[in-house]
Structures are given as C-alpha cells and as structure tokens.
C-alpha cells in the first residue's frame, strides 16, 4: 500500500518538500543544541521544562482523541464514523511519534535515552509513560494499517484486529492519564498538585483532537475525491462542543478551589498567569487570549445555528485548537515553575533556535500525517470509484 504515497500530484509533492525543508531547518538548529547543550533554549535552573515538554503534553491529547471516533464506531456501531476512524488512527500515529521526538529533543543526554529501558524503574511515571505511548503507537499502526488493507481488498479485517481495537479504547485514556500523573504527583508544585489534572487533560484532549480532525476532514474533502461525510463532521462538532464545555468547567473548578482556599502556594501560580506577579506578566496577554477564545468557541459551538454551518464550525475548531494550545501547549507546563519553590519569579520565553526545532518536529509530524493520509485517501478513492 505504501506505493500510494509515492505517486501524487504536484501539490502533494510541493507540500512534502515544504515540510522537509522546515524539518531541515529544525535539524540544523538541533545540531547546534547537540553541540552546545540545552542552554540554547530559554529554559533555566528555575523553569527547567519549557516548549518541548509542553508540546509533548499537548500532543498526547491530540493522539488520545482518536478514541472519540473509534469508540462510537466499534462499540455503538455508529456507521458515520466508520469512514473516518482511519483518519483518527493516523492522527494518533503522527502525534505519538511527535511526542516521542519532543521528549528526545528535551533530553540533556539523548544518546542515553535507552537507559529508561535498560534500567526499568516502575516507581517513575516516565517509565509508564514510555510504555503506554509506545504501546498506543503500535496499536494504532497495527489497527489502522490492517483495517485499511482489508478495506482495499473488500474483505473484513483479520479477526485478531478486533481485540486490539477494544484494547486501544481504554489505552487512549491511559496515555493521557499517565501523562497527567507526571505533573499531578509532585510535592511542592502547587499549580500541578491537583487530582483534576487527568480529567482536565482528557477533556481538553477530546476537544482539541476532534477539532483538528474536523479541520483535516474539511481539507480532505476540498482537495481529494474522498468525502468524510457531513454527518460525521457534524457529530464531531458536537463532541468538540461537549468536551470544550467540560474543559472550561474543570478549569473553573480549579480556580474556585485555589482562590476560595486562599492557599498562597497554589494561588501564586494562577495570579502569575492571569494578573502577573511581582511585576512579571509575560504570560498574562496569552492567557487572556486563551480564555477569550475559549468563551468565543463555546458560543459558536453550543449554538446549533452556528455549529451547523460548516464555515463557522471550521472557524470554531481553529479557535478551540489555538485556545487549548496556549493553555496546555505552553502555559500549563511553564507556570508550574513560576514562582519557583523558593518564591522566585524567573520568567521563561523560548529562544529562536528552540522555536525552530519545535517547528521542525511539528513539520515531521505533519509529514508523517500527510503521507499516511495520502495512502488512506487514495485507497478510499479507489474503493468508491
């Protein structure tokens, strides 16, 4: 099936070459990081995780969202999603690979990465994250590829795929739960020390991931002969609406507990992102942008009149994605370190090399996605022709 990715239009190759070029730029700056060390990033003794780990956290959510199309189709036999499960699974594949690459990019000694496997340490959450992420990647490659191959031959998928699909459903929940545990179990980091971290992660994942899936479906319909289907897109829209509302609700719960209890160690972090602390407020405009976009997206998504119009739905999905990216793909990780355990406010902003390396990894993820989607869409076009 892979040969489908090697024959394509000029537009397809243009996209592939464009992404390769961005990857190349990222790779050059990664070499610089390799030589100099992580000091070329904006990270510091106080803010010791930054953009890379934040991208990893955000993308785990995007990956987990495949379950939102897989579950209704396989557990409730909801046929409309049958056309797009493969799109969800391939998004998961590309996102998990990005997650793994972001972790490697963040390591001070990347050549020692295999120490996690050579000296397995079950009391470390990172050990379990390694297992669930790689497992989820493998599940989605196996399921996606085999189901598509069978579809191509117009035969039912092999019997052993079914159990894997059922396993992949709770497994999707596990990847984001375990990722939340990385943060939620640390003493002395008041911003993260909250049991609602995992539910929050899942809610934002089930909003951001399907929002991306809607956008990708609309792009595919526009540029190829394969139509993911109006009904599927509309119902994904409802999922985004519910999940985004739940996400906002969870954040409000957090804000109540923190500000009503008035415990300074928890409150200072929220003051830093929403109002600034000791004259430092780099994140304040970003956070209020995220909040405004979240409110706007809810207005557009909850109201059926706006949600049913595909143009507005697409706009709402872009808004959801950007709002969640600011909140989870940046602020959530950085704010945990500000103020520091010693009460020092040391701000963080990513450097140019750090941003270019990050873009390079995103380009790599999109390249994987483009190639996988090219294969899937070509197969689907052939079946329908």
């Amino acid at each position: 099936m892979f040969e489908k990715a090697l024959i394509g239009s000029k537009k397809y190759w243009g996209l592939v070459i464009g992404l390769l070029a961005i990857m190349g730029v990222g790779a050059i700056f990664y070499l610089q990081q390799w030589n100099y060390g992580l000091g070329i990033t904006g990270m510091s003794r106080d803010v010791s995780w930054g953009l890379y780990i934040a991208q990893f956290t955000f993308l785990v959510g995007v990956a987990a969202s495949a379950v939102m199309v897989v579950l209704p189709y396989y557990l409730h036999n909801y046929k409309a999603f049958g056309r797009i499960t493969i799109l969800g699974e391939f998004v998961a594949v590309a996102s998990v690979i990005m997650c793994l690459v972001f972790i490697i990019a963040d390591l001070g000694q990347p050549t020692r990465a295999l120490n996690i496997v050579l000296y397995p340490t079950p009391n470390s959450i990172l050990f379990w994250d390694m297992i669930v992420l790689n497992g989820y990647l493998l599940l989605n490659i196996l399921i996606g590829w085999n189901v598509l191959a069978s579809e191509r031959k117009s035969v039912p998928p092999p019997a052993w795929v079914k159990p894997l699909i059922y396993i992949s459903i709770p497994w999707a929940v596990s990847i984001h739960t375990v990722t939340a545990f990385i943060y939620a179990g640390l003493p002395g980091r008041g911003f993260w020390l909250t049991a609602i971290m995992a539910p929050r992660f899942l809610a934002s994942a089930f909003a951001g991931g399907p929002a991306l899936l809607i956008l990708l479906s609309l792009i595919i319909r526009r540029f190829t002969k394969f139509d993911p289907g109006k009904e599927a897109i509309q119902n994904l829209g409802k999922i985004v609406a519910y999940a985004m509302a739940t996400n906002v609700f969870f954040i409000l719960l957090e804000i109540f507990t923190v500000f009503y209890s008035q415990i300074p160690e928890h409150m200072h972090h929220f003051e830093y992102i929403f109002a600034g602390l000791e004259g430092h407020g780099k994140l304040v405009p970003w956070m209020w942008t995220s909040v405004s976009l979240a409110v706007l997206s809810l207005i557009l998504l909850v109201n059926p009149i706006t949600r049913r119009r595909e143009g507005i739905l697409a706009l709402a999905c872009v808004i959801v994605f950007v709002s969640l990216w600011i909140e989870k793909g940046f602020a959530l990780v950085v704010t945990g370190f500000i103020p520091s355990p010693l009460g020092r406010v040391f701000e963080y902003s990513p450097t140019i090399p750090e941003i270019l390396i990050t873009l390079g990894v995103w380009a790599m993820g999109f390249l994987i996605l483009v190639v996988l989607y090219k294969i899937a869409v070509t197969v689907k076009e052939e079946i329908e022709a």
């Binding site: 000091g39 990270m43 001070g108 050579l118 079950p122 009391n123 470390s124 493998l138 003493p187």
Partner: protein, 255 residues
C-alpha cells in the same frame, strides 16, 4: 513450510518486539518481591544529617560555599539562567516561606540561610527518576550517577527545595581551578550536593562543615544517640524546610 519475504519480515519484527518488551516484563514481575522485602523493618544503624545554626552564620561569609564548590568542581556561571549551585544562601523568608510574617524578629528578617540538598528520608526526586540515576543510599545520602542521568530533569520538577542544578552547557570552562580528585560533569546532566560522600569514604567530614569558622554547621549520624549532632538536636529547638510535604528533610535549622 513456505515463508515468503513478507512472512519473514513479520516474524522478524515480532522477534525484535519480544526482545524490547522482555526487560519491561521482567521488572513488573519483580515488583511484588521488592515490595514484600521493603515492608520488613530493617534496623537503620546510620542516618547522616546536618544541623545549620543560623545564629552563628555570618552575613557576607561564603567560606562553606567556596569550600564545597572548589572541591566538587562546581562551575561559577554568574548568569542565573544557567547557574549551578550545591550550597548557597537565600533570605530566611524565601527558605522558610511557611514561617514568613510581618514581625519576624531576632535579626532573622532578611538574614541569609544556608541551603543545600536536604537528603530527604522520602526523596521525591528518587521516586520520579526513570533510570535510578538518582538514588538513596542506606546511610541516607541521596546520590547522583552522572553517567546514567539522561537529563530529563524530572527530578528538578519533583524537588520542592530547588536543590538541583542542570548543566545547560559545558561546565568545564567555568571551573576556575579543577580539583583532579573529583570528576567534572558533562553538559546535559543534573547535579547537586552529595554530602561529600567521597570525603566521608576517606574518614573526612563534609567540606562545608570543615570550612565554617563560626561553627554554624554540624554533621553526623542521627541514629547514634551519643553523637554530637544528637546532642545539638537535644539541646536546641530546630526546624526543617517544608516539613508538611512529607519528604523528611535531614537538614535541621537552629533559628
């Protein structure tokens, strides 16, 4: 049996997967055993700890810092973003945020407090390390293996005392005079105070304690009832940093 290329690759792939999964399964199967043996109460005959007498600590004096950083090849990077420190001073209010109030008396307000790794009884850094590069010895010292550390910095996020530093760049150009008896570090690994385990092995007390002319630092085995440190703890009221977090810090402060 006929095996085509496709079949061969499939079997080969499964084989490689098996090899990768094996160590993980090994460990999971060992967990129960390890838990069972940990529950048996083992008599601890040694627990190293330190007492810092803030009343004796002179403002502006950096003897302990110089001694420690000199003997351990700690680089002097002035930039706060990349700085590395094993022992340093912070104002009393920053060191003990739970004790901060408007009327702090006794000359403690704004006075320097010596900070270092607390060598916790229940260290959260050890709990989160994915490679056991940081670990607790039986005598209580929380140690680092610089050759195993992958530089993920999970321990830095887990430490509630800010005791850990990361080598954001090659530290060697910033070491004024290299002590050939102690390793220098490479970029990309975490480091921190090691309670001078290399000196203890030779029967010497920690460098910071030795260097303090004002007798503000004391070191010893708190499991030994007749030790000097137990005597100090008996006759003085001491506090610890953030005891509410359950980490069991082993640096005691006389204020």
């Amino acid at each position: 049996m006929k095996i085509d290329r496709r079949g061969f690759l499939k079997i080969g792939g499964l084989g490689i997967l098996g090899v990768a999964v094996k160590p993980v399964i090994d460990v999971v199967s060992k967990v129960k055993l390890a838990e069972a043996s940990a529950k048996k109460r083992v008599l601890v005959e040694k627990r190293l700890a330190m007492v810092v007498n803030l009343k004796n600590c002179k403002e502006g004096c950096t003897d302990c810092i110089n001694a420690c950083h000199g003997v351990h090849n700690v680089p002097d990077i002035a930039n706060p973003k990349d700085e590395i420190k094993w022992i340093w001073t912070e104002s009393y209010e920053k060191a003990f945020p739970d004790q901060e109030h408007r009327f702090i008396g006794g000359g403690m307000k704004g006075s320097p407090a010596i900070l270092l790794c607390n060598h916790c009884d229940n260290p959260s850094c050890v709990r989160v390390c994915p490679t056991k590069a940081t670990f607790k010895r039986e005598d209580g010292i929380v140690m680092m293996d610089y050759h195993r550390c992958i530089g993920c910095r999970f321990c830095m996020a887990a430490c509630p005392y800010g005791s850990r530093s990361f080598n954001w760049r090659d530290p060697r150009p910033f070491i004024k005079k290299i002590n050939p008896n102690f390793p220098t570090r490479t970029k990309g690994v975490v480091e921190k105070c090691n309670f001078c385990e290399e000196r203890l092995a030779k029967g010497l007390i920690p460098a910071c304690v030795e260097s303090c002319k004002n007798k503000a630092l004391a070191f010893g085995n708190v499991e030994e009832p007749n030790s000097e440190i137990r005597g100090i703890l008996r006759s003085n009221y001491t506090i610890r940093r953030k005891p509410g977090l359950g980490t069991g810090p082993q640096i005691y402060y006389i204020v």
